[in-house]
Amino acid sequence: MSSAEINKNEVDIVIGALNADLTQFLTSWKSFFSGFHLIVVKDPELKEELNIPEGFDVDVYSKTDMEKVVGASNATMFSGYSCRYFGYLVSKKKYIVSIDDDCVPAKDPKGFLVDAVTQHVINLENPATPLFFNTLYDPYCEGADFVRGYPFSLRSGVPCAASCGLWLNLADLDAPTQALKTEQRNTAYVDAVMTVPAKAMLPISGINIAFNRELVGPALVPALRIAGEGKVRWETLEDVWCGMCLKHISDHLGYGVKTGLPYVWRNERGDAVESLRKKWEGMKLMEKSVPFFESLKLPETALKVEDCVIELAKAVREQLGSDDPAFTQAADAMVKWIQLWNSVNSSG
């Protein structure tokens, strides 16, 4: 499937702007963003004016717009990396592709630039196979299929809720790891897309992600903020928490989550050692989150994504609330998010 075969009208590309000057970023993506509608959301805490080059079909949202749509008190939900969720909220499209503003197109082993947008949409349009592992990875791609021993009743797959891409150069490692291995860069181009099996947990990164907004939009929750959350990925966990919720809800509703291609090239930004100096709250929160999600069972009656989020928030409050105030705040944010989602998406 080439970019000519995907319906660009079904896609919004949502970019969270943590940097004011988006010239280099947008110029590098121009050929792949061409023909698509862009939503650029400015981090409400960013003071400078955004610099956006000509030639893009783009709607820009800033703090004022956020306050108009969700009210001043709720606008804080969308600070820092979470600004992109505002874009998810106001989009009217079926698919969202979201890339961090410090990433440019990667090159594949043949030297061709990778069209990450098209690859994400292809991933989303093809079924996922979470109920049984296919050892040749994506069975629907050219040149591959289901292997011997794969049950036939499972070969039509399930709808794909999300497509998690990867990163060459600066991989999405945490601060301690990157600080320890300062020179390490990811050079391995693994030519595969695969479905993450049902019940398996994974850390979903927000750096290079796409999802079916119609299917699971409300499940992408801007909820968990670690104390002292910063403006570099090493100082956040919001996407990892969001991903745990998304995966759990997808598993519950019988959808799939894919990982692998496409790659983006992630540039240097920030200093891992510097980020280490801040107390690494994220570690503790993840340790607590794992057994929670492992044993969590959403009620059978939760059939809509919104209901799943509400039930999840309830469980977070009940089981994790006493462990750390960050969890109670996350639970509150998840409930608030659904309220906002319903109000924004019901009004015409």
Binding site: R148, D174, N186, V190, A200, V290
Partner: protein, 357 residues
């Protein structure tokens, strides 16, 4: 188009890891000329050849390989009445080799598997990669999006819980195949020309709770950790089914590994699979399996072993009871298979008595 590697001129590995701790098990009915191509990588290791079919035939083994060979007469002699659990006229008989081995690790490979080339054109030393996979921990409790975190150049990604980064012991390393992919008969019939040309440069742990189709063509495992669960079932002569031997072993192995906290990896290494078997013959063998697996899969997906099952043998015996209880209704074959599973464990324990400390 993908080609096998040309290994002429590659010197024999002078630093073979685990040389005295690993056996290579090869089932065959013909000569083993294919070993010539594998010489640089496999010659230092001991081979266990399991000769299927006519025991009066002589199997030609290339010069310089150290091996022991067992034909059907040997199997009958060694196991006596218990030989009934070892398949005849099917490569499933290879598991006899696992049983008689005295080594810690096993690498098993089919005799139509040649050396593959990586994207740079270099010959892939499949055994070396399997050993790396087995000696490195697995990470079944949380999926790492950068695949094997212990590989050179990789690591755990942001958000991966630190308490899970030590990993668990790896019991199985499942390799893949370039050229002729391991498709079932219906797929082979529909896509006779499809070749696997995609070299996916990754090893990954299959998450806990997830089943997979384990192919026995290019497989290695820690015999001490999981050996008794690697029974390849009743296939071939006198049996209603074939080409499900490795599948059956894989489902049992995965359930037991999940229960015991062991890891199963899949991905690299690739071998070059040179021969496509006849899809019409395959269809006849697989036919029943295609229907039965629809019931077998849910059975394994919901199989729960008791807390008291702490050794592989105990787990396997429990599984055999569950097979008899729940799968015999599908076909009396499963009743026989459950009995054979018990026979296998009894034979395994006889040939591998626990060593006194």
């Amino acid at each position: 188009m993908v080609e096998p590697a040309n290994t002429v001129g590659i010197p024999v590995n002078h630093m073979p890891q685990l040389k005295d701790e690993l056996d290579i098990v090869i089932p065959t009915i013909r000569n083993l000329d294919f070993l010539e191509m594998w010489r640089p990588f496999l010659q230092p290791y001991h081979l266990i050849i399991v000769q299927d079919g006519d025991p009066s035939k002589t199997i030609a083994v290339p010069e310089g390989f150290d091996y022991e060979l067992y034909n059907r007469n040997d199997i009958n002699r060694i196991l006596g009445p218990k030989a009934s659990c070892i398949s005849f006229k099917d490569s499933a008989c290879r598991c006899f080799g696992y049983m008689v081995s005295k080594k810690k690790y096993i690498f098993t490979i089919d005799d139509d598997c040649f050396v593959a080339k990586d994207p740079s054109g270099k010959a892939v030393n499949a055994l070396e990669q399997h050993i790396k996979n087995l000696l490195c921990p697995s990470s079944p409790f949380f999926f790492n999006t950068l695949y094997d975190p212990y590989r050179e150049g990789a690591d755990f990604v942001r958000g991966y819980p630190f308490s899970l980064r030590e990993g668990v012991s790896t019991a199985v390393s499942h390799g893949l195949w370039l050229n002729i992919p391991d498709y079932d008969a219906p797929t082979q019939l529909v896509k006779p020309k499809e070749r696997n040309t995609r070299y996916v440069d990754a090893v990954m742990t299959i998450p806990k709770g997830t089943l997979f189709p384990m192919c026995g063509m290019n497989l290695a495992f820690d015999r001490e950790l999981i050996g008794p669960a690697m029974y390849f079932g009743l296939m071939g002569d006198g049996q209603p089914i074939g080409r499900y031997d490795d599948m059956w072993a894989g489902w049992c192995v995965k359930v037991i590994c999940d229960h015991l906290g062991l890891g199963v990896k899949t991905g690299l290494p690739y071998i070059y699979h040179s021969k496509a078997s006849n899809p019409f013959v395959n269809l006849k063998k697989e036919y029943k399996g295609i229907f039965w697996q629809e019931d077998i899969i849910p059975f394994f997906q919901s199989a729960k072993l008791s807390k008291e099952a702490v050794t592989v043998q105990q787990c396997y015996m429990e599984l055999s009871k569950m097979v008899k209880e729940k799968l015999s209704v599908i076909d009396p074959y499963f009743d026989k298979l459950a009995d054979a599973m018990v026979t296998w464990i009894e034979a395994w324990d006889e040939l591998n008595p626990p060593t006194k400390a």
